[in-house]
């Protein structure tokens, strides 16, 4: 059998030995339809990941895979905590870039005719856009609290409520210390807490367009036409700087520990080394910054809705459904060859997707599986999935979004002469963005259809569909 072959409708396997230096197999979850978008460089990158020391199991690529810096976006790789490595490039520059999904008691008809006003109200109230500054200026001691407490800090400052915390991955706070956070990262993130950012970061108001499992939806209180809010953002300049600073440090450490790199951005150090531990704690501090950021933004959106609709908090019932990270490295226990192992699981553009009966999940999701939030592009659907048993094959991981297929330049070229905002309005989607370029770069044509991506992870048994959302209001930086 060839060393690279299609194992089934949803999976391509690249066997160890296909290329020099591979220590394990690589697996790409992709169907025939999406295979045409597979970039050669992305395939090379996932193969390069298999060359890192003490990799456990295969390096895994989700169907939204595309080329990144060293480690492909849409990639998952796990290493033994005892002998394995940690790699900043395998997490990404936007540490804990992720998504918060909130339900409300509102229905689609409650917004009808007022979409333009609502999107304007959100645009005016949510700090976003290029170089945006938030309304929160942190003293040194408060800053430290954010990095240690994450979303809990925000709740203590009355951004949202305690109820939000149990529905955030890791309860919105990863245990860490702030000692290895660099001064530059602190300065860069100081005025950016509570801001959305730009590019593919967004805030979306949508409604439930389709329900795939009525029994579970009803038990969770979801209904057709229900209004949801989705917030996609991360650790802003703070996380970007941590990654920048530590890629430099870990590159030197790679040489020190004799780790051969097939790509400099795959720089890695032994997890238990001084450098590895310092990065791990700094990364966790960045993750906490991002959890706090999304908690604050949720609170700002909630206040905007309350003022706009002139209703009480109880009537609005904006509740956090779940909040997931898709750029992170986490210590998790997984069964490998029948034995439980403690691993450091790197997810870059991939979402944790634990199946049901997992103790890490909030009680209300333990019978169903972890909510997995999959944003589409601004013109098409987004999805809420649930982690399924098949995710045991992927270290409890699923896809994170649609994945680009057109470069930004091509997207702008292809849409010349088109009025994208008008086109979206004609399909019932109202968009405001901080920059004209963002609108054209983020057009639907530039992305894979997320429905195709979701079809693969569901077909492979990694996740299952629960809800599909259609956007009404979108704001971008």
């Amino acid at each position: 059998m060839s060393s690279m072959y299609r194992e089934n409708e949803y999976k391509i396997v690249i066997k160890k030995g296909y290329r020099e230096g591979m220590r394990s197999d690589a697996v790409i979850y992709v169907n025939k339809n999406l295979e045409r978008f597979l970039e050669k460089e992305a395939i090379n990158q996932i193969i390069n990941v298999t060359t890192l020391p003490s990799i456990v199991g295969p390096a895994i690529a989700m169907p939204d895979i595309h080329k990144g810096y060293g480690f492909p976006i849409g990639g998952v790789a796990a290493f033994d905590v005892d002998g394995g490595v940690i790699s900043p490039g395998s997490v990404g520059y936007d540490i804990n870039c992720g998504v918060r999904l909130c339900s409300t008691a509102l229905k689609k008809d409650d917004i009808k005719g007022r979409e333009k006003e609502l999107v304007r109200a959100l645009y005016d109230n949510v700090p976003l856009g290029v170089g945006s500054q938030g309304n929160i200026y942190l003293s040194d001691s408060e800053y430290r609290e954010v990095l240690l407490k994450g979303a809990r800090w925000a709740v203590e400052k009355e951004y949202g409520s305690e109820d939000d915390l149990e529905n955030i991955e890791s309860n919105g706070c990863i245990k860490t210390n702030a000692d290895s956070v660099t001064k530059k990262a602190i300065e860069r993130g100081r005025s950016q807490l509570g801001t959305l950012g730009s590019g593919n970061h967004f805030l979306e108001v949508s409604f439930v367009d389709e329900i795939f499992d009525y029994e579970i939806a009803e038990k969770l209180g979801f209904f057709k036409g229900q209004i949801f809010v989705m917030i996609h953002t991360g650790s802003r300049g703070f996380g970007h700087q941590i990654c920048s600073d530590y890629v430099n440090i870990i590159l030197k450490a790679s040489q020190k520990y004799g780790i051969k790199l097939y790509d400099r951005e795959l720089a890695a150090a032994p997890f238990k080394s001084d450098e590895g531990q310092r990065y791990f704690y700094a990364m966790n501090a960045s993750a906490n910054y991002a959890f706090a950021n999304r908690q604050i933004l949720k609170s700002i959106v909630e206040k905007t809705f309350l003022k706009f609709f002139k209703i009480s908090k109880e009537m609005l019932s904006m509740n956090t459904v779940y909040d997931v990270a898709h750029n992170i490295a986490k210590i998790e226990k997984h069964i490998v060859d029948g034995k439980e192992k403690t691993l450091i699981v790197h997810r870059k553009g991939a979402t944790r997707a634990f199946s049901k009966n997992c103790n890490e999940l909030p009680l209300k999701y333990r019978d169903f599986g972890q909510p997995v939030i999959i944003p589409g592009d601004m013109g098409r659907f987004s999805y809420l999935l649930l982690g399924s048993d098949g995710s045991k094959e992927t270290f409890g991981s699923s896809c994170h979004g649609a994945g680009r297929v057109l470069s930004r330049t091509k997207a702008i070229e292809n849409t010349k002469g088109r009025d994208i905002r008008k086109e979206l309005e004609e399909s019932g989607i109202y968009l405001l963005a901080g920059s004209r370029d963002t609108i054209y770069e983020e057009v639907s044509d530039a992305y894979k259809d997320v429905s195709d991506v979701v079809e693969v992870v569901c077909g492979a048994g990694i996740s299952k569909k629960l809800l599909r959302f259609k956007p009404i209001c979108v704001i971008k930086g």
């Binding site: 810096y69 290029v130 170089g131 300065e187 730009s198 590159l251 400099r264 951005e265 470069s407 370029d437």
Partner: protein
Amino acid sequence: MGNYKVDIVNDIEIEVSALSVVDLLNTLISAFNSILIEGKRFRDCEKELEFENDFPDFFVDFFNELIYLFETEGFIAHSVCDFSKNGKIKLKLSGMIFDNQKHKVKRVLKSATYHNLEFRNDNGYYVKMIIDI
């Protein structure tokens, strides 16, 4: 002054060439500013900087310092007015502070990366790097 080319794919690829290192850095500054802001740049203030890494990693560090200075101080570089390389690299940057009456920010830059970094030093200087946006 040198030449630069900016290509916006998923991220930004910058190619810069010049006859001298100072020209190369000034061209890199021009490329940086063309991506980041609209508006004129002046020499109102100066910054002294020091870098540990040698070529070619130095160019990544330099670009990242431009991002850092902009995001933390609103500093927009104009040009390099002093450069020395003796173990460490030291240089002086002239520039101005961002003024939202005079400038508009076009794009957020996360970091310059080492990914596919290219550097040549024959008949002048050439650097190609990828910027994450």
